[in-house]
Amino acid sequence: MNLKGKHLIDPNDFTLEELDQIFKVAQDMEKHPKKYSEICKSKILATLFYEPSTRTRLSFESAMLRMGGNILGFADATTSSVSKGESVADTVRVVSGYADIIVMRHPKEGAPLLSSEYSSVPVINGGDGGHQHPTQTLTDLLTIKNLKGKIDDNKVALCGDLKYGRTVHSLIKTLARYKNMSFYLVSPPQLKLPTYIKEFVKNEYNAEIFETSYLEEVINEVDILYMTRIQRERFFNEEDYLKLKNSYILTRDKIKDAKEDMLIMHPLPRVNEIDYSVDDDKRAVYFKQAQYGVYVRMSLMAHLLGVV
């Protein structure tokens, strides 16, 4: 299995075996960090973040630094040539001469794919608009694998902004490839999962999907509860955001009858959709999840660079 030189734009760019290989190395990286501390010694990661993202960017930077590599890039489109109207294709053609691997976050959907068509080094999609967020998906899958022991045979509730929530889009498309998965989509009617994703998951993988607006209907049934933030930045209209922002607030009381081994996950940052009182519950794994993100990104980059 050789992933050297490949891009990661959509989590479905990789086979399940390739994903499994990335997880195995990530698990080993967590256990034996020293073994991997210099494998990227002469390598440079370029972080091209056209919209702000503290966690994803820092997670990538931490991952590269933990492997002995270096980083360069920008964290805001206003400080890059995009403010002069440069195409991402041109930016990437230049940057691929400066760096060995690129991670791009972009508000426009499909921008990382466009970049991969013009880059001479691997491009990783660090999130494109409301479309995809494949490295968050790798993080989520590694979390499930580590804490549940397996990814197959799980009932998963996805709750919140399923319309613009790219983490959910990537996650459901990938989870559907595993055996015996059922999905409970919990959202306000205005923020339902886009039809193209539902059709894809049903037609390609025969996955079971149930839709509801009420979390209470499903919370005691599921093995994984994946909460998401209602994202202010995806709304064209502030009034629409204000109407929906408090749709789901998870409290200790709401999870009292939920399964003992349920995982409460969240891609972070949260605003108010998970009450702080839930943080102490052993089922709340979102901070652990963020930590796994570093190892899985280390493993991903090491594979694409061909150093493991």
Partner: protein
């Protein structure tokens, strides 16, 4: 009854759904040519009730993909010596590049000239195409 002479040599685009004739006329830029062309609109038709017909008295290159997108039910007759020597059918193209825009305002193809999306036909009945960049659907 309005009569139009048959053509000796050229192309007749027949069975155009009434109303689409003008779109095809414009797309083929027939208003700019110097040879005779005729656009007949609302001609009685057994099959369609009424239809449009375009007669072109010359040979021109036709973009069958584009014609298929406008009206997949048209027939193209190639005429030589007053006779139809070839009939061509068009159909909705399975892949289309650059002939229309993605409906998704967040798609990179609507803001970056380098991004020319390839659309894949996913539903013939609804004329639904999937964008290669954002995966979203565009209906024609």
């Amino acid at each position: 009854m309005l009569t139009v002479n048959s053509i000796k040599r050229g192309i007749v685009i027949d069975h155009i759904e009434s109303g689409n004739g003008l779109k095809i006329f414009e797309k083929l830029k027939l208003a700019d040519v110097e040879f005779p062309v005729v656009l007949l609109m609302n001609v009685p038709s057994e099959k369609l009730g009424k239809k449009d017909i375009i007669k072109i008295q010359d040979e021109i290159d036709l973009d069958l993909t584009m014609l298929g997108l406008i009206d997949p039910n048209i027939t193209i007759n190639i005429i030589e010596d007053d006779k139809i020597i070839e009939k061509k059918k068009v159909e909705l193209p399975k892949k289309v590049k650059g002939l229309f825009k993605c409906d998704n305002p967040r798609c990179i193809s609507n803001s970056d000239n380098y991004a020319v999306p390839t659309f894949t036909l996913v539903d013939k009945e609804k004329v639904k195409y999937k964008c290669s960049y954002c995966d979203d659907f565009t209906y024609l």
